[in-house]
Symmetry: C2
Subunit: 338 residues, 2 copies
């Protein structure tokens, strides 16, 4: 841990020690990283996770984090979550499936997981008269094809897949429940996130975990066309940071924030960096597959100045360092790859 990390940790300990936090999707990639940080800061954490195969939730993600209460349930299951929901002061609402491709294969399931369950969860919060802060994580995918770059919060929303539609509806639902009831809600629209505990198999969590797996297994990394699309990729610790800011800042409620970074690379350059960092794998180029091209959005990067201005957040981990840490993690825990 660097001195900077220590100072940051000290701050969060002051803010979060003893606070009752509920993390939905807490066995997943971002959720488990968040839960570790909350636990380290002395928060009392309850995790709800449905452990739907392929969504990224794994019990192993929290094995090293001591005592965390884990409820294995869909967040829409009121009986399972009502008690924890009643007690929670801060709710990090990360549950859901994030695969754009899967949402086109089984769209009704995507809607059920990403919208219906969330609406039922919000109804549970209403029923228990929750006054919690609720931070919902959405996706930059709601914007679809960028009409301009970088993409700010005012950019038109025009999702190009069912996953974007269902998450956008759930953004609105969080806003409404914050307006009508005693909740304080806010929404984070995350750009591509990567890092330790990400699910590397399948293709449900974006291109970076796929590339990392292929590099670690000394396979070919396939880049569509020439891979010239630009992306801003955010290391998971930076996402955990903004989740904490959103969880405690008095300026977060009723707000929506685009979350990304100024460090922008082509997909091809990211693939090359992963190969050179891993010291294995190689990059190849193929034409766009049809089922991919129809949900491809071209270049995307984020105007995250509102998050900086309002919450004081900024990303700290550059891509080179982030990829280094991610690859080190999977070298250290090779069973986490599969």
């Amino acid at each position: 841990m660097s001195p900077v990390d220590s100072r940051a940790d000290a701050r969060w300990t002051v803010e979060l020690a003893g606070r009752r936090c509920l993390v939905t999707g807490g066995l997943g990639f971002i959720g488990s990283n968040l839960t570790s940080r909350l636990t380290r800061a002395g928060a009392h954490v309850v995790v709800v996770d449905s452990l739907v195969p392929s969504h990224g939730g794994r019990r192993e993600n929290l094995l090293s984090d001591g005592e965390v209460e884990v409820i294995v349930a869909d967040i829409g299951d009121r009986d399972a979550v009502a008690d924890s929901a009643r007690e929670a002061e801060i709710i990090f609402n990360l549950a859901g499936q994030v695969s754009h491709v899967d949402s086109m294969v089984d769209p009704v399931f995507d809607l059920e997981v990403n919208t219906r369950s969330h609406l039922a969860f919000l109804e549970t919060l209403r029923a228990v008269e929750s006054r919690a802060r609720v931070v919902y994580t959405s996706t930059r995918q709601v914007f679809g094809h960028p009409q301009y770059l970088p993409v700010d919060e005012e950019h038109p929303v025009m999702p190009v897949d069912v996953n974007g539609v269902s998450q956008h509806a759930t953004e609105h639902l969080h806003r409404l429940y914050g307006e009508f009831y005693d909740l304080e809600s806010c929404v984070l629209r995350l750009t591509n996130v990567y890092g330790p505990r990400q699910r590397l198999t399948g293709d449900s969590q974006g291109f970076i975990p796929i590339f990392v797996r292929q590099a670690l297994q000394d396979e070919e990394i396939v880049v569509y066309a020439d891979g010239r699309q630009l992306r801003d990729c955010l290391y998971v610790d930076d996402v955990v940071d903004i989740l904490l800011f959103a969880g405690i800042s008095p300026d977060a409620p009723a707000q929506l924030f685009n979350v990304g970074t100024d460090e922008v690379h082509t997909v091809r350059a990211i693939a090359d960096l992963i190969v050179s960092t891993a010291g294995s794998g190689r990059v190849a180029s193929i034409p766009w597959p049809a089922h991919r091209e129809m949900i491809a959005v071209g270049s995307y990067y984020t105007d995250w100045s509102k998050a900086k201005r309002t919450l004081g957040w900024m990303p700290k981990v550059g891509l080179r360092e982030g990829i280094r840490r991610m690859i080190e993690y999977y070298r250290t825990f090779p069973t986490a790859i599969a």
Copy 2:
């Protein structure tokens, strides 16, 4: 029937005779008026309606319209609708619940009816490889509080109730299925619609049917505050017109249209007109009830110039004439009031 109506009917007969049309929600208010017109034009019409109590569907709405095949089912029920969906050339997708208030009482049900069932229906169309034109009717309620007037298609979408969220999601789903598959889809965002066959009981279909019922029963019409909010109200025959235009125009696919009229009145003036036309009832003013005020949006009226420009549609029936016809209908069929 006026000479104008006859000419219009002749045109629709040329366009629609023998065409296979599917009308979802076809036992409801707008759906049954549309079905009558389609039948009169010689179209082959199949109606799907779930007859959910309170949504407005009534078998009596089509009693006088001869042979129409009616399937009583939720549109999400693939077994029930697949055959008709496969054969349909034009699908008027009007199923759903439109009550803003009900959507806040049982939001999960609203989402299931207005989004999940529609997504399942679109998946059925995909499964049967439909190449139909699909016209989906949404609501001006998706806009929420107008930021400017009149409200055009570019106006930001910020629904103030779950019904607006669920219908907005379904707009996006129709757009996506039109982009990805062989469907031709378009979306109509309707302003307040009124007329014969509207459900007058409950408060699920807007303020005009409530006012008409109260006037017919010589009761007090309650206007919140001073009733100064402006509204553009559209007679159902005009909505049927634009549905037909949207069903056949080569310029409709992939488009979204705001549908309203330039004739704008205050809610108070509309109440007064209804009382004077009915010759019964009286208007009173009370403060806003809390559960109403939270979903009230202030004045609203529509910029419908895109519909005129693109489809050649324009409204023909003024409010005075429309209210006269509506009251005449319920005087003639008093059992339709209850």
